[in-house]
């Protein structure tokens, strides 16, 4: 650490003597000979006051599964309609307004408006609706006002979340060196999500969601010839309108997410000295949560005074020492200081066992992180550039099995742009994580296995390789290939071949992208990619067992567009996409032999066929057909009562074909 800081200091000191890099900024222009009064722009084509287009769409959706709404923007079946717009207004005084809308009238869409005069003021107004559909849940718990009432009749609930986001911002520039801004945002989130409670056996249930977040940001930007600073405040307040969950026979069995708020004061700055640029930031924050606690035996508090103070500070520098050599580095400090009160609370066992009650203190978790990064880039020759760097990260925790972890990483990258038709990028890195003695902590759990190494704390060697090529044999074709390989290896205990936890994880794959510009009228593309993530881990239940998890992913796509029909008025095109996610798990329990998990995969075919016809200079028609084939399965999802002692939300898998036919009319301003 000390050595690293000295290196950084050396680099910064060296940077002060750096050469001046080319800077073609207009403020450096030599305008002594300019006779601007003679400037003319008779040939400039100043556009009309209004530009853009407005589109109205009317379509038909045929779908048996609301999940298709994710792709179509609405889960409505039958006739659907929406409005799109992208309109700009510019007047003679330099005022500019812009309105953009997308799928207004559907469950997913946005509208965004900007208005103002560059260099003076700007007003912005945004609204966005994001709806996501998951599964359809089956439950016999009917919710009302925090009470989950069992019923003989089954309730089918769409697990969907709808976020309505709105924002209003104002920016006012007082003069060239002083700018101010303020922005308010609000999000309302409603819907249902999957949850589970214990009473005394696990019961999955559809938890209602009704919450809001209000955010406020305001700041002042001061700037000079070679410096700038931004002083700002950011506040966020979260409110949950759903109270604790109760069953008729178990009051407040599931705690509601508590209201909370966070505040941050930030000062950020930049200083430029020829070819050297310094950036810095200090952010002081506080997170507060003092919601009422559930009143149960063994709880000494009405409400808890949860408070976490945070401090984030960073200083970074980069400098072009010569036109060929760049050096840079940064120092980062981050602290999370939990100042909340600590009390003892009675902890009933999760399983029903009234004799096993015990008292436990809440744990206040503090984290302190320091990061140092150094990097350099050197142009070896025309078209050859080598980068290298060293990263150091140290994390200290007031809890857990390991008080301190230290990560050291070396990396290098070679860019070859020597050839006109092909470029190469080769990246490699190797990192080692170590730290203080690893000891199971009584603070977090007295029962933790002493042989276990948690993957985020354990010693680890990480090696990553990546090769990228871009082949452009002609200006009508490009072919990109990226191949990556990464391995995380977790050290074994010295002198002991028994390791519990994650042993190893490999992540490798490739992406291939082809783009063709065959003529002014004909374009085509294709891409293919695969990824594999293989992990090995071990556990111990009387005997050591092992689990291999092999995740894989394949992604294929192709498309073509032709615009040369009917005197270039008609454009037709087709696009296809395929994605397949797969997870395989094999458990080897030694004594009982190995077993494979059931199916856990999903795939999706998407097809779109479309035709766009220009009725005139200002009117356009588009007819588009979209097909979605979606299938997913997860063998862990079983019927409501299929497992003794467990109540699930049923089979949430999807298997559907969905179609959307959409006719759009656009008016071009």
């Amino acid at each position: 650490m000390r050595f690293s800081l000295n290196l950084l200091t050396l680099a910064l000191l060296s940077a002060t003597g750096a050469v001046t890099a080319a800077d073609f900024g207009i403020q450096h222009a030599n305008t002594a000979k300019v006779k601007q009064a003679a400037y003319q722009c008779k040939q400039c084509k100043i556009p009309a006051v209004h530009t853009g287009s407005v589109t109205a769409s009317l379509g038909y959706v045929d779908s048996s599964d609301s999940h298709a709404g994710n792709a179509f923007g609405t889960n409505d079946e039958g006739v659907v309609a929406g409005v799109d717009a992208n309109v700009s207004y510019l007047n003679a005084e330099g005022y500019r307004s812009q309105l953009q809308a997308h799928q207004l009238g559907m469950d997913n869409g946005f509208v965004s408006a900007r208005s103002g005069k560059i260099g003076e003021y700007k007003v912005e107004l945004d609204y966005r609706n994001i709806t996501t559909w998951q599964d359809e849940a089956q439950t016999q718990l009917w919710h009302h006002g925090g009470m989950l009432t069992p019923s003989e009749s089954v309730r089918f609930v769409d697990l969907k979340l709808e976020r309505q986001q709105a924002g209003l911002g104002f920016e006012y520039q007082i003069n060239e060196d002083l700018n101010t801004y303020v922005r308010y945002d609000r999000e309302d989130k409603t819907g249902s999500k999957s949850a589970s409670l214990m009473s005394p056996r696990p019961i999955n249930f559809a938890q209602p969601v009704d919450e809001s977040t209000d955010k406020l940001s305001a700041g002042v930007v001061l700037s000079g010839a070679n410096w700038m600073t931004d002083i700002s405040y950011h506040g966020s307040q979260y409110k949950n309108n759903i109270n604790h969950m109760s069953l008729p026979y178990a009051y407040d069995v599931y705690a509601a997410t508590p209201d909370n708020q966070a505040h941050q004061l930030a000062v950020a700055g930049q200083y430029r000295l020829d070819a050297t640029v310094l950036n810095g930031r200090v952010v002081a924050g506080r997170m507060i949560q003092d919601d009422n606690l559930i009143q149960v035996a063994g709880n000494p508090l009405q409400n808890w005074d949860g408070q976490v103070d945070t401090l984030d500070a960073k200083l970074a520098a980069t400098s072009m020492l010569t036109p060929r050599l760049r050096v840079g580095g940064s120092v980062d400090y981050s602290k999370r200081d939990n100042d909340s009160s600590v009390y003892e609370f009675m902890q009933p066992r999760l399983s029903y066992d009234p004799l096993s009650n015990s008292f436990k203190q809440n744990t206040v978790l503090d984290i302190e992180r320091q990061t140092v990064k150094l990097n350099t880039a050197y142009r070896l020759a025309q078209g050859y550039r080598l980068q290298a760097g060293y990263d150091y990260k140290q994390v200290e925790r007031s809890y857990g099995e390991r008080e301190q972890t230290r990560d050291n990483t070396l990396w290098a990258e070679l860019d070859i742009r020597k050839f006109d038709t092909v470029r190469f990028e080769i990246k490699a890195s190797h990192g080692i994580r170590g730290g203080s003695a690893y000891e199971a902590s009584e603070l977090t759990s007295s029962e933790e296995q002493s042989l276990l190494r948690k993957f985020n704390l354990a010693d680890r060697n990480r090696t990553e390789l990546e090769l990228g090529t871009q082949y452009t044999p002609a200006n009508w074709m490009s072919l990109d290939l990226t191949v990556h390989y990464a391995i995380d290896s977790f050290d074994e205990r010295k002198g002991d071949d028994t390791v519990l936890g994650l042993h190893e994880s490999r992540d490798y794959g490739y992406d291939l992208n082809l783009n063709l510009f065959l003529s002014d009228n004909l374009t085509a593309y294709g891409f293919a990619g695969q990824q594999w993530i293989d992990s090995e881990q071990a556990g111990d239940q009387a005997n050591i067992w092992y689990a291999d998890i092999n995740d894989s992913f394949i992604n294929l796509g192709a498309g073509v567009a032709y615009s040369g029909l009917l005197d270039d008025r008609l454009t037709v095109g087709a696009d296809y996409l395929f994605a397949n996610s797969n997870g395989e798990t094999l458990v080897d329990a030694n004594l009982t032999g190995s077993t494979s998990y059931g199916d856990y995969y999903s795939f999706n075919h998407s097809v779109e066929l479309y035709g766009e016809y220009a009725l005139s200079e200002s009117m356009q028609l588009k007819l588009a057909y979209q097909y979605e084939r979606f299938y997913d399965t997860d063998a862990s999802e079983v019927g409501v009562d299929a497992i003794t002692g467990l109540t699930t939300l049923g089979l949430g898998n999807h298997n559907y074909n969905a179609h959307q036919l959409m006719l759009s009319f656009s008016y071009i301003l």
Binding site: A21, L293, T310
Partner: protein, 320 residues
């Protein structure tokens, strides 16, 4: 999804077209074609210092270039506005960005400052033109950003000779990003991901492509703070906190997408068992996924459902 793939193609093709266009501009016989990037930069630096600007501004340039559609598209966007004092067209006009004309118009023997992937002018020099005006908090961390260190030019993502800059359109910005970040493009289509493939979210909701003072150019002071922007319910603090959750959301989740549900790096129960190995419970062998409460339904989360933190006085095991 298809729509965004198609737009991705358009962006890639427009980049190809721009390359072809710029080659057409330079006309293979251009004397500066044979210069190295450093030599070109030196010539342009000297030209810039001499300050031999054209006598008539834009009309001097358009005398030759007005037939080029791409050139004239400048006037469709804000950079072509002549009535805004902040616009380059209201200052030195074309030469605000392309530098002084010098003798460029006399047989085309002198180079001008040009932008994009096909010019040999180093990205940093190209970018100095843009940064001359665009120096605000959004670009404050640019010089120390990965994009700058990777020598990405502003013109690699932004188009100003156009009615609309695709990088500023929320329906197109994702395509701009994934034209290089192909791994992230694939991640969007995995079993679980944020709704980026339908453009309901944008990459810039979480990342600042101009760099930030947070890892991975995230928009907030920390990774967790960035997640809390939309997931404030996970912020707490909670009476009982789960240590890896508090430390880093990315300990368990991959925000770009996963073949597992809920953007989890690994499926449960294995993900949990990589950290929890209490005898007979946490490390219990789960030989099948749908056979018991340990592997069926929500697996470990059947009981430990408040895994992001519990505010129940009896919630130290995140079950209430």
């Amino acid at each position: 999804m298809i729509e965004r793939v198609k737009r991705g193609l358009k962006i890639s093709l427009s980049a190809l077209f721009a390359m072809g266009l710029s080659m057409a501009f330079s006309v293979s016989a251009a004397p500066w074609d044979k210069l190295t990037g450093e030599e070109l930069e030196q010539q342009l630096t000297q030209k810039f210092a001499e300050g031999k600007y054209s006598p008539k501004g834009a009309d001097s340039c358009l005398m030759c270039h007005k037939r080029n559609e791409k050139v004239m598209d400048l006037f469709k966007g804000v950079h072509g506005a002549t009535n805004s004092s902040a616009s380059p067209m209201a200052q030195l006009q074309c030469e605000s960005c392309h530098g002084p004309m010098g003798k460029h118009n006399r047989g085309g023997k002198e180079p001008m400052i040009t932008f994009g992937r096909d010019t040999k002018l180093p990205a940093q020099s190209q970018n100095s033109v843009c940064l001359g005006c665009h120096n605000d908090p959004q670009q404050m961390a640019w010089h120390n950003s990965t994009h700058n260190l990777e020598e990405i030019a502003c013109a690699d993502c932004h188009q100003i000779h156009a009615a609309e800059d695709p990088a500023l359109n929320p329906l197109k910005v994702n395509d701009t990003c994934v034209s290089c970040h192909t791994q992230e493009k694939a991640d969007m289509h995995k079993r679980s991901s944020h709704p980026l493939k339908w453009d309901q979210m944008t990459c810039t909701d979480c990342h600042n492509p101009h760099g930030s003072m947070t890892e991975s150019a995230l928009v907030k002071p920390s990774l967790n703070d960035t997640c809390y922007e939309c997931h404030a319910d996970k912020r707490g603090p909670f009476l009982f906190e789960h240590a890896p959750v508090v430390e880093n959301c990315a300990n368990c989740h991959n925000a770009h997408g996963s073949v597992n549900e809920d953007l989890l790096d690994k499926r449960v129960p294995q993900l949990c068992q990589q950290c929890h190995a209490d005898d007979g419970h946490g490390a219990r062998v789960v030989p099948q996924d749908g056979m018991s409460s340990f592997g069926g339904g929500k697996s470990c989360l059947n009981c430990h459902n408040q895994i992001h933190g519990s505010n129940h006085p009896g919630g130290s095991l995140f079950g209430r």
